[in-house]
């Protein structure tokens, strides 16, 4: 087995939340955005992370790129612990891990031209590159992601959402990073554009030999592109398996619910299939349920679920699930 390019061990991220008008000396409340998350990513593979908004998946991404401080655990990129690096080493190391953001326009500085935006990582990490070379590489990459290179002097607000996302992708790829983290890269886009961007990402992943983390709240998008899928709920991993197992034979009640939320384009099958609907709202992460965090909405919850937090059970074949009452449900294989 090859060594993982990224391995996340017991990663936790907590935020201090201060109440409005509280005394300065009252301790801040802790918000556990990410709670003891573990996974490995093999080189050249794509890991999908799925969960509702508020499940901590974006925070997880930000912790890996390092824009959010971690409060526990380790992030190893290529076997090196990010926390043990000096700030300058860390800064230099950032070239290997790049990110694509959810809101394509907000991620582009409105006062810079597209060329400047895409070239920024290059200029930052290889400041001595001659200008002609920078321009050549930017143009090549623009062409590669499906933008006309003659638009190089345009400004972001002159582009559509899908084009902005291509600009963001080009910027993330100009340094040929080892790891690309896509934080809901398509959820702000029109449905028709989503597929194009996902296809582009898949092509680029193959051509550049990228390892990728692909985050989305929509399982139907993730399963196309991912080799492995992690399902998160309230900052905790619920189930992890390879994409095929997870989408066809999910074991965790939450994954099953997520999958049944994906509509099937065939009305007959759609009506006939079993549904596990989850009700209620996502509990506040400031005050998560004891034991299994999903128990307030779980259709199979038992009294014992409120006790200890369920451990991740290994079902073999790299399939883990955090529920002692898991059972395999065969979703219609063609369904999703």
């Amino acid at each position: 087995m090859t060594a993982p390019i990224l391995s996340v061990k017991d990663l936790s991220v907590t935020f201090d939340v201060r109440q409005q008008g509280a005394w300065p000396w009252t301790p801040a409340r802790k918000l556990h955005a990410v709670n003891k998350v573990n996974f490995d990513l093999k080189p050249g593979e794509c890991l999908g992370v799925v969960g509702e908004s508020g499940s901590g998946k974006s925070t997880l991404a930000r912790a890996i790129v390092g824009t959010v401080p971690t409060s526990g655990g380790q992030i190893l990129v290529d076997g090196r612990d990010l926390a043990s690096m000096s700030p300058e080493e860390r800064r230099v190391h950032r070239r290997d891990v790049q990110m694509v953001f959810q809101d394509p326009l907000a991620a582009l500085n409105p006062r810079m031209t597209v060329g400047e935006i895409i070239a920024e990582p290059l200029i930052t990490h290889e400041p001595n590159t001659p200008r002609a070379e920078v321009k050549k590489r930017v143009s090549e990459l623009m062409e590669r992601v499906g933008l006309l290179p003659n638009l190089i002097n345009r400004y972001p607000h002159e582009f559509s959402g899908g084009q902005c996302q291509r600009i963001g992708i080009a910027r993330a790829l100009i340094l040929r990073p080892k790891l690309l983290i896509c934080d809901e890269p398509v959820s702000a886009l029109d449905v028709s554009v989503q597929a194009q961007v996902v296809n582009l990402l898949m092509e680029l992943q193959r051509d550049f030999g990228l390892s990728m983390i692909f985050i989305a709240h929509d399982l139907s998008v993730v399963k196309h592109i991912s080799d492995e899928i992690v399902v998160m709920y309230l900052g905790t991993v619920m189930e992890q398996a390879n994409a095929r197992t997870l989408t066809t034979k999910p074991s965790h009640p939450y994954s099953q619910a997520l999958i049944s939320a994906v509509p099937i384009p065939d009305p007959v099958l759609e009506r006939a299939r079993p549904r596990a609907v989850i009700e209620g709202e996502l509990p506040s992460p400031l005050n998560p349920p004891s034991g299994c965090v999903f128990r307030t909405r779980c259709p199979k919850a038992q009294a014992s679920c409120a006790g200890d937090r369920p451990a991740l059970l290994d079902l073999g074949n790299d399939h883990t699930v955090a529920c002692p009452f898991h059972e395999e449900v065969d979703v219609l294989a063609a369904a999703v």
Binding site: R91, A106, M112, E120, N150, N153, E158
Partner: protein, 308 residues
């Protein structure tokens, strides 16, 4: 009817190869500014006044220091505006040419305003952006310092400084420069707080751009709009402050002059019927203030993203 194939190809080539020049937010703003009549009017007046203060000397028949002995003692009777003796704006109570003095005074008043506001732009922007971007304790220390400085009654301190270290134009610049950036620092810090949470700043952090480069490349250009507006609106305030101090007799000293000093001189003579001694400086004073204010308002409307 088919279009000429060669022509079509050259057209295709032309559209493909020519790099399209983008429409920057600045050029959008310029278009909006030009549509604003009051602002353009203000800008034209401002340019005229600037030209007057820079090139007005070319037309003057008398230097600003020369005394016209023919008029001494009889200024109120025969010192009025007249083209025959070369005193277009009349003479002041000492018999000096008022035109030459208004040219000089306008120049100095505008210079005080512009220099003060430049200091505000440079110091205030960098200070505010640094405090806002780094946040935390640094922000606290930096902004509390500003609060403390602001709580000092500035006019009082400025007058004290001028009394202690002598009345000189340098002192005036130093004094006005010292206080003008405080408001700017606060405004810029507030803007920085909202800009630094934008995703493009986070992207820059993730890329590994150094913090000061982020401030200069990503933060400052995005708050330049508000800085420009505020700086333009600050100029009339500073001109007014200078005039007030000069009016008290503490500002610019003879033989230099400013609009405030001229108005002060003119106000004393008004009772004796020498209306021109206050009318001309006051006209230029008000015109300058209005012009700057209109231009500032126009800039704000043009640069304000909410109107889009």
């Amino acid at each position: 009817m088919y279009p000429d194939k060669a022509k079509m190809e050259s057209l295709v080539e032309a559209t493909e190869l020519a790099e399209v020049r983008g429409r920057s937010l600045w050029s959008d703003a310029r278009a909006r500014f030009i549509r604003n009549k009051a602002a353009v009017g203000g800008l034209i007046i401002l340019i005229l006044i600037l030209a007057f203060s820079l090139f007005g000397q070319v037309f003057q028949a008398w230097s600003n220091e020369a005394i016209d002995w023919k008029l001494v003692g009889r200024v109120t009777q025969i010192g009025g505006p007249s083209f025959e003796n070369g005193h277009y704006f009349g003479a002041d109570d000492l018999g000096r040419d008022l035109y030459a003095r208004v040219v000089q005074g306008t120049g100095i008043s505008i210079m005080v305003g512009v220099v003060g506001s430049l200091v505000a732009v440079i110091v205030g922007t960098l200070y505010g952006a640094t405090a806002g971007y780094f946040g935390g304790r640094l922000d606290n220390i930096m902004m509390r310092t500003v609060d403390v400085l602001m709580s000092i009654p500035f006019m009082f301190v400025l007058i004290l400084m001028l009394v202690i270290w002598g009345r000189s134009i340098t002192m005036l610049f130093v004094g006005i420069g010292l206080i003008s950036w405080l408001d700017m620092a606060r405004i810029v810090r507030g803007q920085t707080l909202s800009i630094k949470n934008k995703e493009f700043v986070e992207t820059a952090v993730a890329i590994g751009v150094r913090p000061f480069t982020i401030i200069l490349r990503h933060i400052v250009p995005n708050l330049l709009g508000i800085v420009v507006v505020y700086a333009t609106l600050l100029i009339p305030g500073l001109i007014m402050a200078e005039s007030f101090i000069s009016f008290l007799g503490l500002g610019v000293q003879e033989p230099m002059t400013s609009l405030g000093a001229l108005i002060q001189g003119g106000s004393k003579q008004m009772l004796y019927g020498a209306w021109w001694q206050i009318a001309f400086p006051l006209f230029f004073f008000l015109a300058t203030l209005f012009a700057f204010t209109f231009v500032g308002d126009g800039l704000r409307d043009a640069l304000d993203p909410k109107d889009r």
